[in-house]
Structure formats: structure tokens, C-alpha cells
Symmetry: none
Subunit: 607 residues, 2 copies
Amino acid sequence: MSIAGPSRDIGSPSPPLQRGKACLSCRRRKMKCDGMRPTCTQCTRGDRAEDCEYTDGSRRPRTLVLEEDIARLRARVQELENPQNVIPSIELYPPYTSPSTAGPSVAQTPYQPLMEPPSMSLSTSSPATSSTDSGWGFDGSPQRNVQQCLTVLAPHAAELGLFLNIDRLCAQNTPIFPGLHSMLMLWSAYLSQRHLDVSEQNSESALLSHAQHQISNALSVDSSTQDPQVFLHIIQTEVLISCHLQRAGEPLGARYHASAALSLAVGLRLHIKSGEAPSAHLFDFVGYSYPQLPPPLDGIEEKERVDAFWTVYSLDRCLGDIYNGPPGMNHAIMITAPWPSSDWSNEVTHPSLSRRSDRSLTNGYQGQSNFMTPSTNVTNINTVLQFLTGQDRDLSNDSPLGLQAKASVLFSEAASIAASYAADPTVGQSPAFRSRFATLGNLIQWFSASLPPPSSIIIAPGIIQPSNARQVLLTINLTALAQITLHRTFAPTHAPSNKRCIEGALRAVRALDGVSDPGPMIWTALCRVLHDELVRLRSQASSSSTADTTYASSLHATSPQAANREEEAEISLAISKIFSIMSKMTCPVKTFAVKFKAMIPALDSIN
Amino acid sequence: MSIAGPSRDIGSPSPPLQRGKACLSCRRRKMKCDGMRPTCTQCTRGDRAEDCEYTDGSRRPRTLVLEEDIARLRARVQELENPQNVIPSIELYPPYTSPSTAGPSVAQTPYQPLMEPPSMSLSTSSPATSSTDSGWGFDGSPQRNVQQCLTVLAPHAAELGLFLNIDRLCAQNTPIFPGLHSMLMLWSAYLSQRHLDVSEQNSESALLSHAQHQISNALSVDSSTQDPQVFLHIIQTEVLISCHLQRAGEPLGARYHASAALSLAVGLRLHIKSGEAPSAHLFDFVGYSYPQLPPPLDGIEEKERVDAFWTVYSLDRCLGDIYNGPPGMNHAIMITAPWPSSDWSNEVTHPSLSRRSDRSLTNGYQGQSNFMTPSTNVTNINTVLQFLTGQDRDLSNDSPLGLQAKASVLFSEAASIAASYAADPTVGQSPAFRSRFATLGNLIQWFSASLPPPSSIIIAPGIIQPSNARQVLLTINLTALAQITLHRTFAPTHAPSNKRCIEGALRAVRALDGVSDPGPMIWTALCRVLHDELVRLRSQASSSSTADTTYASSLHATSPQAANREEEAEISLAISKIFSIMSKMTCPVKTFAVKFKAMIPALDSIN
DNA sequence: CCGCCATTATCGCCGGTAGT
DNA sequence: ACTACCGGCGATAATGGCGG
Ligand SMILES: [Zn+2]
Ligand SMILES: [Zn+2]
Ligand SMILES: [Zn+2]
Ligand SMILES: [Zn+2]
């Protein structure tokens, strides 16, 4: 007999509704509610449709949601109360200072300043400076605060996609876009004390909300009035937001901001090599279009722009392709921005440009028209295309960001190939497809062989050497992901492809150590590939020698049996490594880990 | 012996403290707290007396306290927002009620009911009813207001990209996403009284900012909490924002929101035919990813989703390609959503779906995994690809939106072809390129011939017949734009291409009458093509018979001289028509017109 | 309606581990 | 040795909802 569970029998008297999901009216009446929206059956029958309200529980602990809400509202209140841009300013607790939880404060004293600007850090010094200062919400007020943040963030710059020049941001007189400021604070708070308690959650969402709000405001204001650097700050802010949301397990939001950032970057033509005459494009006519950034003032600004573009590009790539999401940009688009290279010292600081006194945007309308002036045929190089066709096999100049960008290109090309095959498998026969496939396959092989091996970077589990090496690890992962994506479709039927997948997965796992969170795609892909292979091996083993040995033996030249045993061990090992790493991650990843673990009961025996 | 208090004699480890009574610091540390006041023993020993705080206040469940807080804060926010921003502040003057300049509106009465959720229906009866209302900022409050707006907006729905079902929005009990509400108000205010005075400008930006703010909040909240329809509303809001910004001459912002909308739409998989089993994609593993909408409840919802996708798609297309901007999505992506068709009556309302009781999102984590379940090979049709390869030559079912979507596809394919040629002109030789070029050329010809001629729609200048015909006009424009984009590059050297360009431009001009503002790309393209042609003709005329008559005669079979004269006249006419239309447009267009006019001094003679 | 049980979501805090 | 940290577990408050 069954343990007499909740009697799953026929009529299924509907298993009791999950907690927090009964409608208010039913709750009050203590009757069974079926949770039907918008009006539950009980309420319908009782003809009190209007009373049928839901409290909408949400998965996450109710209180958390509430707390988040209150934080957000608080931020809003503050914003409204203090029209100039107050930053919600939490101080970074050096490890544990009482964060004094959700202050009931407000509740008690309804008239008090309601969350007065807590540590308004120097806002006093410049009282009325708040006028419409050239597009920045406010000028350099709490600068030292920024410095603190940046100190914390600097080592992680690569992971966060922090492409702005840190020294320059720190400089006393640099104005900082308030939204950016918030995000810097948010991240440094998070990174400086990895334990997330409630109050932190609160300030997080306050900061986040502030940043988003700043961006929307900035963008609906006439763009020609803004200091051009503001736009770079906005893009940076978007990147930070996107990373944050990804970490927080809100992929939809993460994508939203990533693609917004990309759209800004391209809108500002960061994908075009700076200084290059804009091509006489069909729509360039009389420049009725986007605002245009003035040329960069110096090498640093130029680097910032290039890095901005590639950062955003690879962010979009990495987030975009989940679920066949749009690659955001296809290769037909001409990207002429150079790859981010490690040394910008030798890039002369634009000698021809005397420091322009007026740095405002050239809004299309007022720029002199380059109408019909055919672009002085600079040989524009389609950066991405050149790389993909294998004409650019020199990685020596690439900065880590450059490598990452290239890896994203590989991945997105792989995804595109896979998608085009999925859409219409008959293309598999076309020579064009096959050559594209093969070219990319080789390119990936070469690329991943050219990357430094993880062992040279990971000194001990969790300890990695050069600080920016984390990015290299991520790159290794991405490359592996590209390889998997490319070959996955064919793995079940084509042994070499399968081998490539496993290979890639194992390589990625090896590089997993120092990386913080490579993102859902990588987790998923790795788990899936390894899982499938494990299943395949086991089923093969169980069906013993009846198995298709041809397939197996093509993987290893040695005795299939032994080889399988060995491979299985290796894979199991990899899987348990994944678990152990995952279990140290943030919440969404952990949840995933749990689900995944459940899929592999066979592993119990191992770990 | 002294009954003296708490000294529970030595050995007994003191029963666990009552819930909610441990001090915060102990809670965080997960250690036993003895609840001693003012500083618990743990904290005393750890020498962090100041951290030892208690969440006293109210015996009542913490959630209640929080809820109260949140209500209070909300009220406060309303209050603060109210003076300037309050939603219902602008009343729409139904066409001719005295617009009496500065709307005295609400600004006067800052203390009024604070706009708290007015119809909180019986909130008194239940204590905790104030909770977070299912992801909508607030529920159906000023519904009649919405109805007013929609009455104004309905005729313009197509231009605005209003894809939500209007009747349903009007329905008394539909909750409306507050941001959407703002945008509806903004647009209806704009449309109902076309003169923009200062006060309107103000409320415009207040409404805009409110809408954006709502969106950012909604997106940073756990997405699984939300009523799925909220997402559609968010997308709709983004579309409206994007249109607004475009009109306001803020193309960067417009693009930002367009691509954000696209990214949401795709993230929610609106591009996949509803009800279709999600393909067993590499990243579908254990569903570690985006939230997923529940299947639509009925035909209307389904139509909304399809329309949402295509609206966003073509918006992105139209805004995206300026300056080689990213097409947002390439064709490799598999779109299986059907084209928007005019009749949805025959689409059965998903018989297999009993009204799902739980309409909240299936967040990846909790859905049962479809891991490794190969998609039950539904023959998915790649909607776009099918159209582009000419296998879908039936336009009879397409709604105007459908036509527009197809036109956008044509345009974006054209842009992609042009871009790939620009990137590497040698592809011009490859047969694959040539066939792609030819196929598209034919398709465009056919498509534009199948559209109703402008003359059947434009009854008199400015008056068009079926209300949704405006969209058809836009479609004609877009198609022409596609044609121009495709052929432009080759026009200077290849007479037939040139002819196609002129042809397209002239056709577009004819359809320009009823359209409101086709957007910068169209203006630019038309002007450029016509201008260039005019220049060519004149230079040819001036160099008299020495001109390359072969080229000219291939355009017209008649005497080159006469033909040229005739064509020149036609073009001049078209140009001046453009001027006259442009001069009635909003500011940015007018500015453009001025610049353009300056380019064509030769026209002085004509007009 | 509402007393009262069954079911859970939450929260206290144990005890193993790492750092110092 | 001493303290912080944290995975988990068990106790318990808070709900769903039965049945009188
Ligand atoms: Zn109910
Ligand atoms: Zn109900
Ligand atoms: Zn304590
Ligand atoms: Zn304490």
C-alpha cells in the first residue's frame, strides 16, 4: 500500500493550495480556495468577484519580497524628497557593522524625515551646485566614496565588465553619473562582505532602483546637451546592472539591460573605429539621426570606448543566446572597432586633435553634413569577420577583454550555425554549411589551444594568479561553450563531435575554479553534456558488449571497456567538482545545483 | 531559595528562545541567543554590544509590520509624486474643450486622498489586504480614465504599435500596469490636442519618467511573482515609450527602448509559436533560465502575444538599422510565431487547455524538467525564413500588422545584404550572394505590387479611408525603403538598380500623404535617392549629349533627352511634396527639412 | 462561520569546519 | 584555544481548509 500520500486518486480533490496562495476572501471564510485567477471559484459562486484578491505570495519568502519592496519604496521616497540626486548611500560595512535591519523607524514616527539622507557625505559643501550641470546629475560630490568603492572593485573589474578607466574615475574632479555611482556602491558593498543579509538586500534594491531611474531620466532628456562622457557612464551602469541581475537570478532583467547597453553602444557608434570617417551610408544623409560622440580626447578615452563596445558585445552574446535569444547583432554588421588590446601606450594620443573646447555631442542636426562625401576609402576592416575567417590569428596583442570578446564571437557564431541547422537540417548537406562548420571548428580548436592552460593560472583551488586572470578563465569557459554549442547537435550521431563536446566540458570544468559565476549557459551546458555522456557510457556498459563498439572504439583506441571505465571516472569526478563549486555560489545557482543533483541519482555512489 | 529569575539552574541548556526573539546579530551568526536585554550574552562576549538589536515592535507577525510599513511608504510616494506627477492629473480635453493653457489640474491640492489604491475593495474587512498586489503596481483604479484614453488612441493604434486588445484593456476589472497607464495618458494627451504648450511638456516628461520608473521596478523584482500579463503590458509600455521618444527626436532613447522591448519579447519566447513544445535546446536543461509564460488563456491573449512580437520586431527593425545598427536579430534565429493574421476567429481557442488555475510564471527552477525529452518533432516552421525564400506568397490572411512585419523583414534582409556587400565587395561575385540578391529583389517587387495602391487609400490629401490603412501606407513606405536599401549600393553603376531606387522612392512619396511620421530612415532615404537622381540628371543634361546615353536610354526607351526632362520634373515634384509634408511634422523633422532644402538650391526654381 | 487539526514555511541554533 | 561561519535539522508559528 502506498504510504497513503495525499490520496492522489481519481477526482484528485486538488492537493491543498500552496501556502500563501489562497485568495483573501477564502482565507477569511476559511474555505477551500482553488486559487483560480482572476476570481476563484468560491468567490465566483458566492458572487463576490470583487472581493477575490490575492496576496500573491511569490516563491521567495514572503518577508523578503516585502522587505525588498519597502526598500525600493524607500529609495523612491528619498529620490522624490530630494530631487537632486541623492545616492541612497549605505556605507560599506567593513565586514560586519550592524546593518540595523529594516528600520521599523518609519512606522513609529510618521512625521520624521522619513529616511533622511543618512550619510549625505559632503552634500552640504555644494548646496546649490545642483543646477542643470551639463547632464550630470550632480558633480563630483562624494568622491572619496567612489574611491573606496573602486578600491574594492578594481580586482574584479574584468568580471564586472568595468571598462571605464579606474584611475580617471577616482580622480578628484571627474564627474560621475549618479546612477553609475549607485551601482559602484552596490557592487562594492556586495563584494566587500559576501554574506548577504536582509538589510543588504534592502540597500541593494534601493541602489539598483536609483541607478535605473537615473538612466531613464538621462535618456529622455535631449541628448545633445549631455557631456559625451555621460553616455559611457550610462553604458557602464547598464553593464553593472545587468551583471547584478544575472547574479541575482533575474535573467530577464539581465538581458533587458544587456541589450539596452548594446543598443546604446551601437547607437553611439562605438563599434566603428574612432576617427574613421563614417561611411557614406545610405542613412547618413544630412545626419538626421543619432547623436555622435566627439572624437576621444586621448588614448585613455579611446581605450574606454573600445573596451566599452567589446564589453557590451560580449555581455550581450553571453546572455543573449540562451533559448535561442537573438544574438543581438549578426555578423553582417560591420564592426571596425579594433579588438581591445593590452597596450595602448603606443597608440598616439590623437595628435591632430587639439583639445576640443566644446565637448558637447554633435547632434546630427547641427553637424556639417558629410553628405555624399564618399568615405575617403579607408580600408575598413570588419574586425569580427576577419577573425572568423581565420585571417586574424594573432592573439599576442589582445588584452584579456580582447580574448573574451573573441571567445564570445566564437560562441555566437557557433550558436548561429547550430541554430541554422536546427531550423533546417537539410543545410547539413550544403557545402557552404559544412565549410562554415569546419572552419569554426578549427578556429575554436586553435583558439582554445592558444589560451593559457588553467593550471598556469589557478595556483590553488580558489586562488588565481594575475588578478585579471579570472577573465582568462571565463574566456576558457566561453570557448569551451562555443565548442559544445557547435558540436552538440551532432554528438549523438557523430563520434568526433561527441568527443569534442566532452573535451570542451572537461576543459571548462578545469577552468572553473577561479571563476566567480560563469553564468547559466555554462552551467547548463556543462551539466548537460557531462550528464548525457555519463548516461551514454552507463547504458553502454550495462548493455555490455552488445553496445555499438564501433562508436565507442572510435573514441579511444584502447579497449573500449577499460576506456569507458576510465572516462566514466573522469566524468564523475568532473561532475562532483561542479557540484562542489556550485554549492558555493549564489542562490539561483545553488537551486540549479539541487535540481541537477536530483537528475543524477547514479552519482550517489560516487560522492 | 530565591525564586530569583532566569537562572535556570546550571545543566539545563535553556529552551530555545521563542520565535522572533533572538537578537539580530545572533540571527545572522546563527548562534544561540539568550535574548538578554539590552545586550545579549553572546553579543556581550563578542564585544559588539552596539550590534545587539532586537526587532521588537508588535507582537504581531513581522510580515504584518512590514506590510504596514510598505503601505505607509507607498502613500508617501504617492504624496510626493502627486504634486507634479500624479497620473490622472491631465485631463484629456475631448477634442474641443477649452484647453485653457496651463492645466490647473491637481497641482493645487497636494493633500488630497493621496491617490491610494482607491478601490481597495473592502480592505477594511481583512487586516492584511494591503499586501503586494500581484505585481501590478496597483490594481484597477482609475479605469474610466483608461477608457477615455483608449477612445482617443484607438484610431491610431497601428501607428503607436498598440497591440494589446483595446476592449480588454477597457474592461472594468482588467488591472493595468501603471507604467502603461502613464504612457496611454501621455499619448492620448498628445493626440487629442496637438498643440503642445509648456504645461503639457511638463506632464509629458512626468508621465514618461513615471512609466520608465515603473518598468525598471517591475523588472528588478522576482519575475516569478508577476502576473504574466504584466509582461505584455511592460512590452506595450516600452513600445509606446519608444514611439514617443522617436517623435520627440530622441532616437537614441527610442532605440534603447525598442531593443529593450525586443529583448523582453524574445526572452519571454514570444517568437515561438505558442503551445509549441520548447525545443530541446542545449540550454533548456533543467530549465535554468528565463521565466516562461503560461499558455495563453484564449484566442485574444494569443493574438496579443503574436502581435506583440511582431510589433516589437518591426519597431526594432525600423529603428535599428540606421547607421548599420544591429538588426537585433538575424535570420538564423528560429521564429515560429505565426504572422499576425486578421482573423483569429478560426483559431480555435486552445481546446486542450482548461483554464489554468495558476497563472503565475513558471520560473525555470520549478517547472518539471523536460530534460532530454526530445521535442515531439512538431514541424516547426521558420516563419521568416519561409517568407524570405518565397514559399509564403499568400498575403490574404495578413492583418495590416502582418504586412508591416513582412515589410520589415524585407527591409532588414535588404540591409543585411547591403551590409554584407559593403563589408566585402568581393562577395558580389559569389553566386550565393547573387541569388540572395535576386530572390529578395523579386520578392520585394512582388510584395510591393501586392499591396493596395496608395490611391485606393488616400481619399484626399490627409484623409485616408479605413482607419487602419495608415499602417498600410507605412508598409508601402517600408517596402520602398527595402527596395532602395537593396539597390542603392549598385545604383551608380547599374542602371536597373538605379531605376528600382527611383521607382521605390516615388512610390513611397505617393504613400506619404496619410502617414504621420515614417521615421528618419525613410525621410533620409527618400531625400537622398531623389536628390542624387536629380543631381545625376542635371549633370547629365548639362554635359549634354556627351553623356553616357547608353545608361540613360536603358532607363527609358524614348528619347533620352525628353525622358530625362520628364523624369526630372517628376522628381522635383516629389521633392516638393516631401517638403510640404515634412513642414507639417514635428520639430526634428522640420529641422531636417530645412537642412535638406539647403542642399538643393536648384529647387528654388521649382517651388 | 469558526474550532481545530494537518501541513508547512520559518527560524532558532547545533555542531562540523576554517581561520587565526 | 577561541571565534566566526554556515549546512542543515528540528521545533513551531502560521495557514489551509474540514466538518460541525
Ligand atoms: Zn478563493
Ligand atoms: Zn476568491
Ligand atoms: Zn543574541
Ligand atoms: Zn545580541
